[in-house]
């Protein structure tokens, strides 16, 4: 295999073979990096809304790339066109490759037709985080909400995506719910396709 390393380096990034996505790094490495991301952004903002906005933006960039990657790798370039299809893609395929497991639950909002929720008992990014009392409802899960938004947006399903803590009875730590509210045109299109 002489010169393999060299060839890899000379190839344009899009000509290189796409890995299987099975390689891993330590959870600590990710946790430290994520903590720097949060702290760096914390130094750049005046209030929590801005901080959440910046984290969401960072996540968005990850989301659109994840969509492209997974579409090439797992779905033979096929993209979902229906709301339920893309949601289950996020809930299972995206979650599995990012966090190694399917999300705990995917539910439809009972009050609004255009709302869906993905819930996670212990979201990876919240695992080492305790939000200081003065910071109200700040949720690092906003980063994951950004990823979800990125995937949805990239696939043609613009939506507002937010992360919330939901207290669970009998458990010290709240679970995180990612609330997805689709844009009106998405709902209309889905009704038309039905």
């Amino acid at each position: 295999m002489i010169g393999v390393g060299r060839a890899k380096q000379n190839l344009n990034v899009v000509d290189r073979p796409l890995g299987k996505g099975k390689s891993e790094v330590s959870l600590s490495a990710f946790a430290f990096l994520f903590s720097e991301l949060v702290q760096y952004n914390q130094g750049k903002v005046e209030n929590i809304a801005e901080l959440e906005h910046r984290l969401e933006e960072a996540g968005f960039g990850v989301g659109i790339r994840m969509l492209e990657l997974l579409c090439h790798r797992d779905k033979a370039n096929r993209r979902e066109t229906r709301v339920l299809g893309i949601l289950s893609f996020v809930h299972s395929t995206v979650w599995k490759s990012l966090f190694g497991k399917v999300a705990d639950s995917l539910e439809k909002g009972t009050e609004h037709e255009d709302e869906y929720m993905i819930s996670e008992k212990e979201l990876l990014v919240n695992r080492f985080v305790s939000v200081p009392g003065g910071m109200g409802g700040f949720n690092c899960g906003t980063f994951v909400a950004g990823i979800v938004k990125g995937v949805l947006d990239g696939a043609g399903f613009p939506a507002r995506v937010t992360a919330h803590f939901v207290a669970v009875e009998g458990q010290a730590r709240p679970r995180t719910t990612i609330l997805i509210k689709f844009a009106e045109e998405v709902v209309q299109r889905d009704a038309r396709l039905a």
Partner: protein, 186 residues
């Protein structure tokens, strides 16, 4: 290059939980993009990445010492070996080669063929001066400083800039004597 987890491997002890490397890679990419947007000068971005790395290194060293099954290093050569074989393996799941020792044993290179930080990355024309993985230099510097070694760390070869490998130059400046009472972090 995929490394399997063997029980005999000290860096792959069950204490080390793992996450998908792509999440890590893309998150790092998001950080670099934010820095590029926030700072106008590439040099500033390099500096900021180094600072972030330093912060990480200062905390990461505790995690490392707690989990890695190692004893105190007797000299800088051993330190470099531990970083390359155990440290890189534990955190990034790659190993580095230690090479190019200076005659006084104060300087060496860590050579990486594989670097999970740069998957999917291509430096655009406008970012040619960017040391994309500069965070690693900061991590090494921060971690070593916590074990009383003041170092200078920089990339001398970078595959993103067309070199044949990643080469990090590690230079030991001095052993800082431990003082009591220990200083608080600034």
């Amino acid at each position: 290059m995929r490394a399997s987890l063997r029980p005999s491997d000290p860096a792959a002890s069950p204490a080390v939980e793992r996450v998908n490397a792509e999440l890590f890679t893309l998150t790092y990419g998001a950080i670099v993009r934010q820095l590029l947007t926030d700072y106008e000068e590439i040099d500033e971005v390099n500096k900021q990445l180094d600072t972030m790395g330093y912060n990480i290194g200062a905390r990461l060293v505790d995690d490392f010492l707690a989990k890695a099954n190692i004893t105190k290093c007797t000299d800088f050569r051993e330190t470099a070996d531990v970083i390359a074989k155990v440290g890189f393996k534990m955190f990034l799941n790659v190993t580095a080669t230690v090479a190019n020792w200076s005659s006084d044993n104060m300087e060496c290179s860590l050579i990486l063929d594989d670097n999970p930080l740069v998957d999917f990355v291509e430096l655009p024309e406008t970012c040619q001066g960017l040391s994309y993985c500069n965070i690693l230099c900061g991590v090494l510097r921060g971690a070593l400083e916590m074990v009383s070694m003041r170092t200078e760390v920089k990339f001398v070869k970078d595959m993103l800039r067309g070199d044949d490998a990643f080469e990090i130059r590690l230079k030991l400046l001095e052993h800082v004597p431990e003082e009591y009472p220990y200083k608080n972090d600034e």
